[in-house]
Symmetry: C2
Subunit: 490 residues, 2 copies
């Protein structure tokens, strides 16, 4: 433990909060349920955005921007959609303040909107009301649009990154001529999310379909990626929805097919949010602070000088500039922390806390010997290397750290995933061990609800790669063809 | 004229609107005063963002994110600030909808907020309430933060990009130990904006101070860049504010100086918005459509095949792939438009409308001759070149187009800028010619108001580079030391 971080064992939830606060990622604001994303946290989010945006563009998508406010009447056009979101939305009712007789600033009742505006909790309705104007013929399809935006879902109990009233996200909204195409898009984007989670966040995920009761409000099918956190709980890290023709019907969006027939358009939508920051933190970090996969670290290498006086520091600066020139050539981001206001020990703790993957320390004696001390954040191992060629060592090490973090998370997940055939065992594991439980389920919402009520575990998804096998529901004993993934979840 | 664009001469305002709509940049939404930024318009905005973000980071700034909602009480802490923004804000009063007895979806009166939330029109108040927690000592300073965000200012009369209720922007908010540092920051960022406007948007700008009556609500000094549009009107393209200690005092943000004294913190803020899109369009475009400076064009080169049959198209495709490989090597973005659903003439008009800087057309005969036809969008000139080395021609031409567009805009501004010494002449120019008028002013808000009332011209700014000279106010005859810039403005 350093800088007063609670250990995971002692209090997992407090540990998480300590890391968010002490690694300078985010904090609560004076606005109920809204967070401030601090520069270091935002720099990680920028890395996430940059890579996802690249992957979206590589798969043919373009960005656009739609209004923040949604007229109430749009919102109510898709029945299950409004049911799903009506309870948690911020509503704009007025457009002016005024000074009253007592000199107080109050809402001007003369500036009441005729129709209330909902602050978008998601943009299907505003976007499909727009697509109606854009889509007439099969030549106008497909539309492959993504939006980076803020959304608001009123939350009573909030947690930094994991559940906040306002959060940042991307939402893809696509329109297609056929169901097959829309379904293929839905799957493609889940694969993009899974690839990003595994290769960039170093976080293994399980792809699968949500059960009916966990579907997005307005979707025919929701598929998700689910990751395991270090307390054994699941975190839904991304969802992709096949919306069928629901929104096209609600907004009367039709196209003329090649054959000259009028048909409703097919749709998908998909999104990931700043929640990924929470997943990233909880998947890898330890009791010393954040552990970042190098690919998402804003600074990959920090260099700390060890010196007795300004003269030594000057010599070190020169040597370091040779090293950083070579890091620049290799496009490896770095920071040389030559602040004189803090001692090396303080700096070491700070960068451990912030999860910088590689730390170099260099003093007069190192320079004399032509060596440098390197510490890797994931294992906390220290080793002495020659300064000559250190950039190659670092380049390889960064790949190694990326892989190691992934392997560690995968090993943890495997060790905490259980195949279970009785409800007794199920309850015991959920209650006493935590983790993922693969069990047979009869496919009914009733059984699902009963399990949730009694154990707080929910069906995370029905994994695509679960093998077909004959089994019996752990509750009702009815036949089941494949195991589904149960866990407690964030 | 093409595709039914109104000419500038006929109706400048309609011409602007036609370009925005027909070049697929943006459109009005069903939400009062809010626009939809379409993919092509958003791609240009992404180029703008990318370059500005780079320049902000090069000058030591980092990004962060603060809440969308601002409690009313924060808003009212800085008196002139609330005066400036109270009349144009969206107010959230409730957080839930419900279904009433008639089955209608209505606002749930039981979910009324105790304190109303203002949708941010700008973020000084929420940010300074946060800085209070971050700033204690001189070691915590400076804070150099920028935010990319959406903001809302309720507008009664809106125009796409130029004035919309919701718009996208960046807002820098910096905190400093001394007034000098904050003033230097304010100037530095105006210089960044000016450099961006001139080198990237190819739009000459005049830097100067706003008069007192045009200052940002809460600032001690506002400085701006002003550009001339093709109708002779001015458009304020960016502002930077020296906020003094106003917000620090309103939110009680103090720091302990090196000398151990407690002092209030000094501040700057600065911003540019999607309004720049309007400036970009109006500065350069012509009666055929958008004209884009190459540096901000999402696609720099479009290649249109001219073919009689699929066999010819196949031969052209092969030749084009040689050319595009060489464009890729030079990092020049391109699009090969081999759609068979449209004829070349249609494509030519479309890319003229969309302002693609360079258009190549290639047919069987060109391939036989080893040549290709190149048209540049800015001058509409066409010329035949050898295919060999065409990528070098294009590379040079793109620089040339960028320069040419800038020179053209500068020439236009020079030709439409007048030094005026009498009010008669002033009125005549403002009424009959339009353009910028440099005239002496006695420095009083009364004179400024009189001129605005009688001519609709306002003081755009007091240019930094206006030479000192003895003169007399055109209205009152009182002495003046330098001319100020008057114009009608967007």
């Amino acid at each position: 433990m350093s800088k007063g971080i609670t250990s995971r064992k002692e209090n997992y939830s407090q540990w998480y909060n300590d890391i968010v606060i002490k690694a300078d990622l985010a904090e609560n604001s004076g606005v109920r349920g809204s967070m401030v994303i601090k520069p270091y946290g935002y720099a990680i989010w920028e890395k996430i955005k940059e890579q996802l945006d690249k992957m979206f563009k590589e798969t043919g998508h373009v960005n656009a921007y739609f209004p923040l406010f949604i007229p109430k009447s749009y919102f109510t056009k898709e029945a299950s959609h409004v049911d799903g979101f009506a309870k948690e939305c911020a509503i704009v009712t007025h457009y002016r303040l005024k000074t009253n007789q007592n000199g107080e600033i109050v809402v001007d009742e003369n500036a009441k909107l005729e129709e209330e505006l909902i602050v978008r909790p998601t943009s299907e309705t505003i976007i499909w009301s727009t697509y109606k104007k854009w889509i007439h013929s099969y030549r106008d399809l497909p539309i492959l649009i993504n939006q980076w935006a803020n959304v608001v879902r009123w939350e009573m109990r909030t947690r930094l990154f994991l559940r906040t009233s306002e959060f940042l996200w991307q939402e893809g909204h696509t329109a297609h001529a056929t169901a097959e195409e829309a379904i293929a898009e839905t799957k493609q984007m889940l694969n993009v999310y899974a690839e990003f989670a595994e290769k960039w966040m170093a976080m293994p995920v399980i792809k699968g379909s949500k059960s009916e009761s966990e579907r997005f409000a307005g979707a025919l099918d929701t598929i998700s990626i689910e990751a395991m956190m270090q307390d054994g709980k699941a975190l839904q890290a991304g969802t992709s929805h096949f919306l069928g023709q629901n929104f096209a019907k609600a907004f009367d969006v039709k196209f003329t097919s090649k054959e000259g027939k009028e048909e409703f358009v097919w749709a998908s939508s998909w999104g990931v949010s700043t929640r990924l920051m929470g997943a990233l933190i909880m998947a890898h970090s330890d009791d010393k602070g954040l552990v970042l996969p190098p690919k998402l670290a804003p600074v990959k290498v920090v260099i700390v000088p060890i010196y007795k006086n300004e003269q030594q520091l000057e010599i070190i600066r020169k040597k370091v500039s040779e090293i950083t020139d070579r890091l620049k050539d290799k496009n490896i981001s770095f920071k040389f922390d030559d602040r004189t206001t803090y001692r090396p020990g303080h700096k070491f703790a700070e960068y451990e806390l912030k999860g910088v993957p590689v730390r170099l320390a260099i003093g007069q004696r190192d320079i004399d010997n032509g060596t440098i001390e390197l510490a890797r954040r994931d294992t906390l191992e220290k080793k002495i290397y020659d300064i000559a060629g250190i950039e190659v060592v670092i380049e390889n090490l960064l790949n190694d750290i990326q892989d190691n973090i992934y392997r560690k998370a995968l090993k943890f997940r495997n060790e905490n995933t259980y195949k279970v055939d009785t409800y007794e065992e199920f309850k015991d594991i959920i209650k006493n061990k935590g983790g993922f439980v693969m069990a047979h389920w009869d496919g009914t919402p009733e059984t699902e609800a009963k399990i949730q009520e009694e154990t707080k575990a929910t069906i995370r998804n029905i994994p695509f790669d679960a093998p077909e096998e004959d089994g019996k529901c752990i509750i009702t004993g009815k036949p089941s063809k494949r195991r589904v993934l149960f866990a407690k979840a964030y």
